[in-house]
Amino acid sequence: MSWLIGATLFWLAAWALNVRLAASRFGATRAGRITVAALFGITLLVLWEGLVRGFAVSPIILPGPSVIGPKIASSLPILWADFVQTVIKGALTGFAIGALAAFAAAIAIDRSPFLQKGLLPIGNFVSALPIVGLAPVLVMWFGFDWQSKAAVVVVMVFFPLLVNMVAGLQATDRLHRDLMATYSATYTQRLLKLRLPAAMPFFFNGLKIAATLALIGAIVAEFFGSPIVGMGFRISTEVGKLGLDMVWATIAVAALSGSALYGLIALIESRVTFWHPSQRK
């Protein structure tokens, strides 16, 4: 009971502090924003711990952060191996291949209005499909190891990226296009100097969506067969062994890698599309 009250009190106090921080000058700075977000995150953890202890939830059902934290610390080699298998080999490889392929395909079909008209509606449709359903098929085709995971990721990210990229290539200002026409610029010149730069905000938008899809795809695919390493493998076996602390440790790593990937893309985006109004202060 005291745990519940304590957690609630902490929550209220942290929230009050956050309200003050958010309204203050400090809250407008970068450090301030991070502080507020971090405080909120800590509050979530404290609440979680309080609830787990207060209601005496069995660690077989839901372990608290105080159990998961040490587990992470003591399982670093396993977590690292899983990370390499799933994130680096599966998700990132697939992500890179999918992104490159979408980029190339977008430029290829951009030249042909016929292909655009034919492929875009289909691409739009496919990007709305539950591609994860293909995971068992692709595991069957590409084997157990990371290649099949990468294949799932490729298929999952390809279409959203293609659709975004093609839209981006067409998103140029009429004014900017006319300018190129008055210069009698060639197709390549138009592409390099106008349409690719103009497409970048769209492309990065697609990349951000794809980044979260990539991880989900790689992990789900491991459920349908994998070597005995990998985050999806870890989760699916540890659940069966009641090793919930390990499951959460893996989830934490997944969230961390996902956020890092997202952050990395956002960072590159802010470098590449520094000129876009959404990136300016």
């Binding site: 059902i61 068992p136 595991v139 084997g143 157990f144 067969g225 699916s236 659940v239 090793g243």
Partner: protein, 306 residues
């Protein structure tokens, strides 16, 4: 009286006894209202019972003992399956003829708590499973036999009543296959027992409920053994996915009947000791670290089978 039973896997003839008991009104005769919850890939019966989602679960003994060591006091109250149906099925063309040939081959294994018999077998064979040279390469097998058909693995885990026949159905002749039954290798572990939480057994009302439940379930099992085809049809009716086929379930039922034959429902202590011994066997990573105590009881089955 309400009883919730959590199965280990999806609705199939592996669990025919319970569906038959349900359909034939055996539970009803005992005054029980039984809910049968099918399992699935991500459903750990141990976790479900820990979370209060079931009164009694169908589980394999290694997983149950491991859970017990983790602090979840499961107790075996009945053991309808006498023998183990698990085996490794290998392609003859892989050149495997004896377990000694496993070295440096790729083997498909079920995880999710089902890997314990395999691990203890390998440690008895002195084969490393961490992928190092001279050991075996282990694959986490998915839900089907494709790895064998695609030749991604030399051997895969199969049940005598299920996956083995899928390999056959796929068009591979029995002569092209080599099988190693855990039962024959002396590493068999008890499958498909009924487990409840120890603390619940202290409650006489619960105990009485379980007595009725085990009695009716065993009646169901024996009926199913004798009327395999009818039992298979009952299972089929309960399959909510509608994807199971009649021929497959009928065959599964006849194979399952071979495994339940010889059990009256009471756990044979000798089988138990053998399972524990194999799980404790020396090796890099024993499944349990010490012999469990109080992991089974005849209290229920004795009363049920009077």
């Amino acid at each position: 009286q309400d009883v919730t039973l959590q199965l280990k896997w999806v609705t199939q003839a592996q669990f025919a006894g319970y569906y038959v008991a349900q359909a034939k009104g055996f539970y009803e005769e005992e005054g029980l209202n039984v809910t049968i919850k099918p399992g699935g890939p991500d459903i750990a019966p141990t976790q479900v019972i820990a979370g209060g989602g079931a009164d009694v679960v169908v589980e394999w003994m290694p997983a149950a003992l491991a859970a017990r060591e983790k602090g979840l006091p499961l107790v075996n109250i009945a053991q309808p399956f006498k023998s183990s149906g698990m085996m490794l099925t290998c392609l003859a063309e892989s050149g495997i003829t004896t377990p000694a040939d496993f070295a440096d081959k790729t083997l498909g294994v079920w995880f999710f708590g089902n890997e314990y018999p395999f691990l203890s077998w390998m440690s008895q064979l002195n084969l490393k499973t961490d992928g190092s040279a001279g050991g075996v390469t282990v694959l986490k097998q998915g839900f089907n036999v494709d790895p064998l058909l695609q030749k991604q693995a030399a051997c895969i885990s199969t049940m005598t009543y299920n996956e083995y026949w899928q390999v056959i159905d796929a068009g591979i002749a029995e002569s092209d296959l080599i099988t190693f039954k855990y039962q024959d290798q002396g590493v068999a572990t008890m499958e498909d027992g009924l487990y409840v939480l120890e603390e619940n057994l202290a409650d006489p009302a619960f105990e009485e409920k379980m007595v009725k439940f085990v009695r009716a379930s065993m009646k169901g099992w024996k009926y199913a053994e004798e009327n395999a085809d009818e039992a298979a049809m009952i299972v089929l009716e309960n399959d909510e996915t509608g994807a199971q086929t009649e021929s497959h379930q009928k065959r599964m039922m006849s194979e399952v009947a071979k495994l339940t034959a010889g059990s009256n429902g009471a756990l044979d202590p000798a089988d138990y000791e053998r399972t524990v011994a194999s799980l404790l066997s020396p090796g890099s990573d024993p499944v349990i670290s010490k012999a469990p105590e109080g992991a089974w009881t005849h209290a229920i089955s004795d009363k049920a089978l009077q």
